[in-house]
């Protein structure tokens, strides 16, 4: 394992892996800083570029991009009060007031350094988890992996809040879409309308860019211009922010652990961990008077939590094929494109690649922070780019991505169709991540279902671990509703008692 750990590090610095990581970081900078293009959309747009890459190169490119979006998203949160990413929203509460009081540089320094500390903790949690989860994963058979696939969809559906039924339905539709093409057992056409172009399926990249990128492009145009209407002044005091991270190392460390924990649990998004971390930063402070008005501790907490979740979120994705967010679901798609299946095989045969991922997260975050510190003033100018200038390039990349997947013009129509589906889903409050996961996991679930049924018939449903996983999936979906219903019933009962007494 130590050998894989070291070779993973060496692979990161090999040519062209390192250059591709730098390229991914550069894209991540722009994506993170510009609101409107989220990391799932950007990740989807960039997927076609990994076709010709080796696995380590592909993940250098994608993880370099993914790892920096949360960090750079903090920049706009602090400077303009506009989160570059959803996971950067909590940074606004204290970061933006600090900027208003002329402490923008200090807030940015604190956000960047705490992000780095968080990222390192999250990445090494991933490394430490591998020896722990490997025996567990190796003990699993097809029925367990089938149940885990369904659990993953349940987790993402549970993220849909009040629209959980829509979430489950979207996941189910993703599985249905995964059926399109030649069936893997008998090579019989399924739902292809006689089109040869659909024999290989709907095309994962075409579906992903359609579902995620097109709605974001529409949103970018609808919302209008750039986020910064004025030039940002010179940013000073950055070193003070860096020092603050170490002065309040306890908060940074604890919030990193909170982010790591939330990252480990699929379906509990980074969007939540930042708020819990912020709450912890406030609660643990003896003097709470400055919070909300520009307290640096309110920047350190969410900054650390965001980035520690990145490494931790990779654990369920790699080990069980259960991603916890839209971005990790798309990353799972990248595994499939690269011919890698999450689970026992990758944990035993591609250990060096997994450790490369750990190092990629660490190295890309270090580079990001250094680049941010050097070019902070220039980076802030990215926010002056008008959305309209990005649209032609994005649309071109979207359709090129769809086309490159299958080298067929039919992919343009499929991309467009998924774009319409994505737009409707956004406007009608239907969650997209479960559909993506259904589409990504469909072939794996079908194979595991087939093997399970062939070997155990319906007996596979009674295997203890399968039962436990399915109970967890049901609990994830229905427990919040049952709790809400019980609370409402208790409240009504109490009201009735009070009314009777009166």
């Amino acid at each position: 394992m130590l050998e894989a750990f070291v070779s993973g590090l060496l692979d990161v610095f090999a040519y062209p892996t390192f250059l591709l990581m730098l390229l991914g970081i550069a894209v991540g900078f722009v994506v993170g800083i510009l609101p409107g293009i989220g990391s799932p959309g950007a990740m989807a747009i960039m997927l076609p570029f990994i076709f010709a890459m080796k696995p380590v190169e592909a993940f250098a490119f994608l993880l370099g991009m993914y790892a920096v979006t949360a960090t750079t998203g903090d920049i706009t949160s602090i400077l303009f009060g506009v989160p570059g990413e959803v996971v950067s929203a909590a940074t606004i509460i204290d970061g933006h007031p600090m900027a208003k009081h002329g402490e923008a540089g200090r807030a940015l320094g604190a956000a960047l350094m705490s992000s780095l500390v968080g990222a390192i903790i999250g990445a090494f949690t991933l490394a430490a988890a591998i020896p722990v989860v490997t025996p567990l994963v190796l003990s699993f058979k097809s029925p367990e992996f089938l149940a885990l696939g369904l659990l993953g969809i349940a987790f993402l559906a549970a993220l849909s809040g009040e629209n959980k039924l829509k979430g489950v339905l979207a996941g189910g539709m993703g599985l249905v879409l995964a059926m399109v093409g030649l069936d893997p057992q008998e090579n019989i056409e399924r739902y292809t309308f006689g089109l040869v172009g659909l024999w290989e399926g709907v095309g994962l990249v075409a579906a992903l860019v359609g579902l995620f990128a097109i709605p974001e492009i529409v949103d970018l145009w609808v919302k209008g211009t750039s986020i910064a209407e004025t030039q940002v002044g010179k940013l000073g005091g950055v070193w003070q922010g860096i020092k603050d991270t170490f002065i309040h190392l306890g908060i940074t460390f604890r919030c990193s652990m909170i982010g790591t924990f939330f990252g480990l649990v699929p379906g509990v998004s980074g969007a939540l961990s930042q708020w819990v971390s912020y709450g912890h930063a406030v609660q643990s402070a003896s003097d709470k008077s400055r919070f909300g008005k520009g307290d640096v501790r309110g920047v350190l907490g969410p900054g650390a939590a965001n980035n520690s979740g990145v490494g931790a979120a990779m654990i369920p994705t790699i080990a069980f094929g259960v991603p916890g967010s839209a971005t990790t679901a798309i990353l799972l798609g990248a595994f499939m494109i690269q011919g890698l299946q999450p689970g026992p095989k990758i944990l035993t045969e591609k250990l060096s690649l997994i450790f490369s991922m750990v190092w990629l997260i660490v190295v890309s975050n270090i580079i990001t922070v250094i680049m941010c510190l050097i070019f902070l003033n220039q980076l802030a100018k990215i926010t002056l780019i008008r959305g309209s200038l990005l649209i032609p390039a994005l649309l071109t990349l979207v359709f090129l991505g769809g086309y490159a997947d299958t080298n067929s013009y039919l992919a343009l129509a499929i991309t467009l169709a998924f774009g319409v589906v994505g737009l409707v889903m956004v406007q009608q409050g239907w969650p997209r991540p479960p559909m993506v996961l259904g589409l990504v996991l469909g072939p794996l679930i079908e194979r595991n279902l087939f093997i399970s049924y062939e070997v155990y018939r319906f007996g596979f449903l009674l295997r203890p671990i399968v039962l436990v996983i399915l109970v967890i999936a049901i609990a994830v979906l229905f427990l919040p509703n049952i709790q809400e219903w019980t609370a409402r019933r208790n409240a009504l009962r109490e009201e009735a008692v009070v009314a009777n007494e009166e």
Partner: protein, 204 residues
């Protein structure tokens, strides 16, 4: 109401689609049919529940009077006149108010960008990626975004050069010329202009 109505339409569409999915699988061998039925029937049941819920929500919303909240707050006239009640009606619209964006403008912009998205897809199909991206970027930036000629032309050429250099020269992966050129038995339209220049530059 519009969102609820759309939910009914979407759920109904899903029900019909899933009925077709499970019906289509009936004649397949069991190995081919196993997954479509194992997934199709439960998802169909969920779609029917969703349809039922959407219909139920619509029926509830139809009782319009119930949906209108009347708030009567006592107010006193600033000039010392008779006090009275300020009545405020809250009618649920089914959609949260946008962040300060005029809904009409939002709709217009959505339609225009959707039309441009379609135009890009058609353009790539007709002219291929290199020429298509040049023409469509130029068109979008000039006609829709009202950018200057200088910006639009340099941007379009930039994208064209990216495709030429990255895909054709560096990766050696020629991009498709589009259906017009293909049906006429021609190379990509730009090839006739760019190829001689490249031959001179590369000394071929």
């Amino acid at each position: 109401m519009s969102r609820t109505r759309n939910d009914i339409l979407i759920s109904a569409f899903l029900v019909l689609l899933l009925v077709w999915v499970v019906w289509e699988a009936r004649s397949w061998p069991y190995r081919t049919r196993l997954f479509p039925w194992a997934i199709g029937f439960p998802v169909l049941a969920l779609a029917m529940i969703q349809f039922g819920l959407a219909c139920w929500k619509a029926i509830r919303e139809r009782s319009y009077v119930d949906a209108v909240h009347i708030h009567a707050e006592p107010v006193e006239q600033a000039d010392g006149g008779r006090s009275g009640h300020q009545v405020r009606l809250e009618v649920p619209t089914g959609k949260e108010a946008g962040a300060g964006l005029d809904p009409k403008l939002e709709r217009q912009r959505t339609i225009s960008i959707s039309a441009w998205t379609l135009a890009f897809a058609l353009g790539f199909w007709l002219f291929g990626f290199k020429v298509g991206s040049l023409l469509l970027s130029l068109g979008f930036l000039r006609l829709q975004a009202h950018e200057s000629w200088k910006m639009s032309v340099s941007y379009g050429l930039g994208i064209y050069l990216f495709f030429l250099v990255a895909f054709e020269l560096a990766l050696g992966a020629p991009l498709p010329p589009g259906v017009i050129a293909t049906s006429l038995g021609l190379q990509s339209f730009d090839w006739y202009l760019v190829s001689p220049i490249l031959n001179i530059i590369l000394g071929r």
